[in-house]
């Protein structure tokens, strides 16, 4: 039987959840035996080449590019797992959600104390910001949630191995953390 395929995505986050995945230490060798990675920043594969079993999503959804890629992930992955507080709640980037977007941009690029000759970036290559930062489940259906900022290596390991071996993902108390 072919190894299960895993893809990972970094949306609006800090890459900490991907780092936490690498933090499983030597279990990464075991993981390499268990799975094969498709589209992921870890191997720098840019597009889906085939249907994937598990998609791991880091980060909230803050711009049109995030939305497009999240929908691609939903189309190409059998199981989608939102990983970490940004993917689950919007996280720290979602602190801007109670401030109108225009005010955020003006504060960052025009009125901030360190701004000199500021202008709000409008290059067509830059993704367009959404009005708010959305958790992944407000954009597409998400099958499983792994909380944490980031989820610890043990949490990721426990959940991944359970998912890949068809077991129930029942996280013990100490592995459910929102920070």
């Amino acid at each position: 039987m072919a190894k299960p395929l895993v893809a990972t995505a970094p949306f609006t986050g800090c890459f900490g959840c991907h780092m936490s995945l690498l933090d499983i230490d030597d279990r990464i060798l075991e993981l390499a035996d268990l799975v094969e990675f498709d589209k992921s920043p870890i191997n720098d594969i840019k597009t889906f080449s085939r249907p994937v079993d598990v998609g791991l999503l880091e980060g909230g959804i803050s711009n049109d590019e995030n939305v497009e890629w999240l929908r691609e992930f939903r189309k190409n992955c059998k199981v989608l797992v939102a990983v970490g507080q940004c993917a689950l709640t919007g996280g720290v980037p979602a602190m801007r959600n109670t401030v109108p977007l225009k005010e955020c941009l003006e504060e960052a690029y025009l009125n901030g104390p360190t701004v000199v000759d500021g202008c709000i970036p409008n290059d067509p290559d830059i993704p367009i910001l959404l009005d708010k930062v959305y958790p992944c489940h407000e954009v597409v259906k998400i099958d499983y949630f792994l909380p944490g900022c980031p989820p610890s290596a043990d949490t990721l390991w426990a959940a991944l191995t359970a998912l890949l071996t068809g077991k129930d993902v029942g996280l013990p108390y100490e592995l459910i953390k929102y920070d």
């Binding site: 709640t89 996280g91 602190m95 109670t98 708010k132 958790p135 909380p147 108390y173 100490e174 459910i176």
Partner: protein, 238 residues
């Protein structure tokens, strides 16, 4: 203590209760944990949060305000009630702006701990994302209303323990918020850092300044043991 002890039955187990006790007080004394957020043992019960709702002879009632009486049959730790409690906690999370990763109460927060205990992986109800007012005017204490769950502990503690009236509710329904008795904010009240009210908030809403992040991750109140373990521990050691 009166010698006319009564017996109530919680989840099929007989629990002794004294006249004048509420169901929640009797349960606590017996080492049976009923989830709660607005209740605090030093304060009169508020009945605000409804987390402690149990079924009393088949009807839902808040156990922090319901007097114990002989022969009551109570359901507490059932999947039905815990599902209600999970939904209440979820609603509290999406109504406020609770950013756990950047909150100094994280790890000691009773709202967060309740979510952990009830096995809530993440809230999935739609977020309200309403801006709420921050009050950092006081030199020692701040109010971050993003994290307020309207439990009213601060207002009860200020009245009962401190003999002041620093806090109160204003507005109704979704517009209800915690207000202070001072036109210019908390600095305009007789709030003191030594007040009981300053350290009674279950979340990160009312906090003492310059105290955050003193305890490292891994040593905070709810890092290893669920909220309510102290009460359940009583039963284990009896």
């Amino acid at each position: 203590m009166s010698d006319e002890t009564m017996t109530i039955i919680i989840d099929g187990v007989e629990v002794a209760a004294q006249p004048g006790q509420t169901i929640l007080e009797a349960a606590d004394q017996a080492g049976v944990y009923i989830p709660r957020l607005c209740y605090h043992p030093d304060l009169p019960p508020g009945g605000h949060c409804r987390l402690c709702t149990v079924k009393v002879n088949g009807r839902p009632a808040s156990s922090c305000t319901f007097p114990a009486s002989d022969g009551l049959v109570i359901e507490n730790d059932t999947e039905e009630l815990n599902a209600f409690r999970r939904t209440i906690v979820e609603m509290l999370f999406v109504e406020g702006n609770h950013h756990c990763p950047s909150c100094e109460a994280s790890g000691d927060c009773e709202l967060q701990a309740m979510a952990y205990r009830l096995g809530l992986l993440t809230p999935t109800l739609p977020y309200l994302r309403q801006p709420r007012q921050l009050d950092a005017s006081h030199k020692d204490v701040y109010i971050d209303r993003d994290r307020c769950i309207l439990c009213g502990r601060c207002s009860r503690a200020s009245k009962v323990e401190d003999g002041k009236t620093v806090f109160g509710f204003e507005g109704r329904g979704i517009h209800k918020r915690i207000a202070v008795d001072g036109a210019k904010g908390l600095s305009d009240t007789d709030m003191s850092v030594a007040d009981e009210a300053a350290r009674i908030c279950p979340t990160g809403c009312l906090r003492v300044k310059r105290e955050g992040y003193r305890v490292p991750v891994g040593q905070r109140t709810y890092d290893h043991t669920p909220i309510g373990s102290d009460i359940e521990h009583k039963k284990a050691t009896r």
